[in-house]
């Protein structure tokens, strides 16, 4: 058949991001730019009041971020039942259901817990959901896992997620699986740390563009070299190398990871908001924690200690970033 070999027409290109307008809850559309104030109803539940007098209740639930299509459909079922078919995700992988009726709050919360198994919270002075990276589930560079370590850590921080007044201020946590630190700055950040220069696997050198590998090193520690057979390879000046792994991303044969020596570090004091003292970078607080699968208990203990110190001694509204750096941890 002549039609069988006909090339399929390509779908439209450059559609851009979907329009947000049809995605908004009707009360968000109606009161767009016309909100007056918001208040906490209870942990995980906020009410937004518009100048028109409209009230929109928002129930926030902490998700696992990595979701099966089945789970996403279950989330949609609840949004259809309670939020007129609309929902929102926050920058910290929390779900937000919008409600027009206050009386729907408790039935929705019950269904989120029973059907989705998600926790309600993440508002006010809580520890919100942990930002994290792909880890062993899907990254090509990681030295540890992210989804698993975050799950274990959120188990230990569960009480702080579901309450909104036991901490002096909001605490944001991130977790990253290599020193590129895709999890980003946070009040408390857990990062993998390498401890020696990359080990070059000679058989893979041919697959890499050497000038790019040399150029990417921030401390000019990588240079081309001829081996005994006159073949071009690379060498790393060990004294210069700071084990950042920039070369590893450019050239997988520059193996920076080492299951025997990689450890985890905890950094504190990163803050994005310009509120009060302005934004700040995080600083190294604890290093050398073991990369212990499957639940990373040493990391959990260390974060717990930081949180407890912060809870017991910081002034209200002083974020962990500022406080912990001024007070030695007990």
């Amino acid at each position: 058949m002549a039609t069988a070999t006909k090339k399929k027409k390509m779908a439209p290109r450059d559609n851009s991001a979907p329009d947000y307008k049809p995605m908004l809850h009707p009360l968000m559309t109606k009161n767009y730019g016309q909100w007056k104030y918001h208040e906490s109803v209870k942990p995980g539940v906020l009410v937004y009041v518009a100048k028109s007098g409209d009230k929109l209740w928002v129930v926030r639930a902490g998700s696992t971020r990595t979701l099966s299509i089945g789970m996403v459909r279950k989330i949609c079922d609840l949004a259809d039942k309670y939020s007129q078919g609309h929902l929102r995700f926050t920058s910290r992988a929390n779900l937000e259901f919008s409600l027009e009726n206050e009386k729907d709050i408790e039935p929705l919360i019950k269904e989120i817990k029973d059907v989705l198994g998600f926790a309600i919270g993440g508002t006010g002075h809580s520890i919100s959901n942990i930002l994290h990276t792909q880890g062993w589930l899907h990254c090509n560079l990681p030295g540890t896992d992210a989804a698993g370590s975050v799950k274990a850590l959120m188990d230990t921080l569960y009480d702080e997620f579901i309450t909104d007044d036991t901490l002096p201020a909001r605490v944001k946590i991130s977790a990253s699986c290599c020193q590129i630190n895709c999890g980003g700055q946070a009040d408390i950040a857990i990062n993998l740390q390498h401890h020696h220069p990359p080990v070059i696997k000679p058989e893979g050198v041919g697959q890499c563009e050497l000038p790019k590998v040399v150029a990417i090193c921030p401390v000019a520690a990588i240079r081309p070299r001829q081996d005994e057979n006159g073949k071009t390879t690379m060498e790393v000046v060990e004294e210069k190398c700071m084990y950042c792994g920039a070369c590893h991303g450019q050239c997988p044969t520059m193996e920076i990871r080492d299951a025997k020596t990689d450890t985890l570090s905890i950094w504190i004091g990163g803050k994005s908001s310009s509120v009060r003292g302005g934004p700040s970078f995080m600083k190294l607080a604890i290093w050398g924690l073991p990369n212990n699968t499957p639940r990373w208990p040493e990391v959990g203990d260390a974060v717990r200690k930081i949180i407890d110190c912060y809870k017991s001694s910081a002034k209200k509204f002083i974020v962990a970033s500022c406080h912990l750096l001024q007070k030695p941890m007990g």
């Binding site: 989330i75 929902l87 699968t293």
Partner: protein, 426 residues
């Protein structure tokens, strides 16, 4: 790992099973449920269990492009494809989310239906840049899924040395503190620069994040090359009746301890249960509004501060974004055109002179802010300077516009000016 290691197929996952206990929801439980429909997920969990056992990763990364696109697909190949053939190719497609991550269930279900047909069925909401991440397609189904998604109006997200997927806070859609229409600005910029998002032609990645106020819920100042942060220029709004109610409810001490004394510029006062603000000293940090959101509100003359150069740690260490335009309104098409013009000038200059893999913040650190401003045709502004000079060793006579190696020599500006002054006086 040693080359000779023999890997057994893991039917059981005792280590991952330990991540099913505890109060927080478990992705392992969810993925096990998914594996009943999608056998590849069982193999994915098998490989992940191997990683947990060895503390080692078994994915290799490479490039895979949909026709007409230079990014958007993150290709992964399993190193254990012999043991886990169904995940030999297990790719991610990045999809542009609606600005502000708002969804109708209709569109979200459509995404699920398309992805179920073509993949192992994992959706991440959302990746660290803000993309919808669809995991689990192979070398064939990636293209089939992409075509079907694009037919339905979705589009691929950014990757590589390109404009990346934009992100924003909820903004005007549901926040009284927002000074700009974050979703509208994000949509406008994505539409305008969609070609640069899909076809890498910059020295390295470029990220915009848009936050409605200084609370910076989009984490723009540290996570983006060009943060757009809402602010205002006129007086803070005070509802003294609500102030009275707040003081009555919490007590004057609470207000003094938690609002007045935490003001960074000490411009707010409580007198006779009324709030007074010296607006000239206010830096619009949002703290007092955050605490007393019924009594205090942002002003009417609203706009945005445009910053430049934020990024995380590789290669030169963290850079915090710094102010490029202290204030500009972002309401009309003309306002937006001013902003997009500026972006194009930055991309031209950085594109011509930036090194490969050099973020714009690293570029500015290398060439200096003076040379950068000169290159993009912008006048310096005192708001760009965090701390005035403290060293007295200045070669005033060399205060010519900065230049980049290979650029033509400029005449020293100060000397020229002196000559002109002298001529005038004559």
């Amino acid at each position: 790992m040693s080359e000779t290691k023999k890997f057994e197929v893991k039917d059981k996952t005792p280590m991952l099973d330990e991540l099913e206990s505890g109060p927080w929801p478990s992705f392992v439980t969810d993925l096990k449920e998914l594996s009943k429909e999608k056998p590849a997920i069982k193999q994915l969990l098998g490989q992940l269990e191997q990683s947990y056992e060895d503390k080692w990763n078994y994915w290799q990364g490479t490039v895979l492009n949909v026709d007409g696109y230079g990014g958007g697909v993150i290709a992964r190949y399993s190193e254990l494809s012999e043991q886990y053939p169904d995940i030999a190719q297990f790719h991610t497609i990045r999809i542009l989310p609606p600005p502000g991550w708002v969804y109708s269930t209709e569109k979200l279900r459509e995404l699920c239906d398309i992805w179920e047909k073509h993949s192992a069925g994992i959706i991440q909401l959302h990746g660290m840049t803000g993309d919808i991440l669809l995991l689990g397609s192979d070398n064939k189904t990636t293209f089939e899924a992409a075509e079907e998604l694009m037919e339905a109006g979705w589009d691929l997200g950014g990757s590589g040395a390109a404009l990346r997927t934009l992100a924003c806070c909820v903004g005007d859609a549901r926040c009284e503190m927002s000074c700009i229409d974050t979703m509208g600005i994000t949509k406008h910029l994505t539409d305008k620069f969609i070609s640069q998002l899909h076809r890498p032609e910059l020295p390295y990645k470029y990220k915009f994040k848009v936050s409605g106020c200084a609370n910076d819920c989009a984490a723009s100042i540290q996570r983006s090359d060009m943060p757009i942060i809402g602010t205002w220029r006129d007086a803070i709004k005070i509802d003294q009746d609500e102030v009275g109610k707040f003081v009555e409810k919490h007590g004057a001490d609470y207000v003094v301890d938690n609002v007045i004394s935490l003001c960074p510029t000490k411009c707010i006062h409580l007198r006779d249960n009324k709030i007074e603000v010296d607006d000239d000293d206010c830096v619009k940090c949002m703290h007092c509004i955050n605490v007393m959101h019924k009594a205090l509100a942002v002003g009417d003359d609203k706009g945005a501060t445009i910053l430049i150069g934020g990024k995380r740690t590789l290669k030169i260490g963290d850079t915090m974004s710094s102010v490029l335009i202290p204030f500009m309104p972002l309401k009309t098409d003309e306002d937006m055109e001013k902003l997009t013009d500026l972006v194009e000038r930055i991309w031209d200059f950085w594109g011509d002179h930036g090194l490969e893999h050099e973020r714009v913040g690293e570029f500015i650190a290398r060439v200096g802010l003076g040379a950068f401003l000169d290159g993009i045709g912008m006048e310096p502004d005192p708001q760009m300077v965090m701390h005035p000079r403290t060293s007295n060793f200045i070669k005033f006579e060399e205060l010519a516009p900065g230049k980049i190696a290979g650029e033509p020599e400029h005449d020293p500006a100060v000397v020229n000016e002196e000559v002109e002054t002298m001529e005038k006086s004559v």
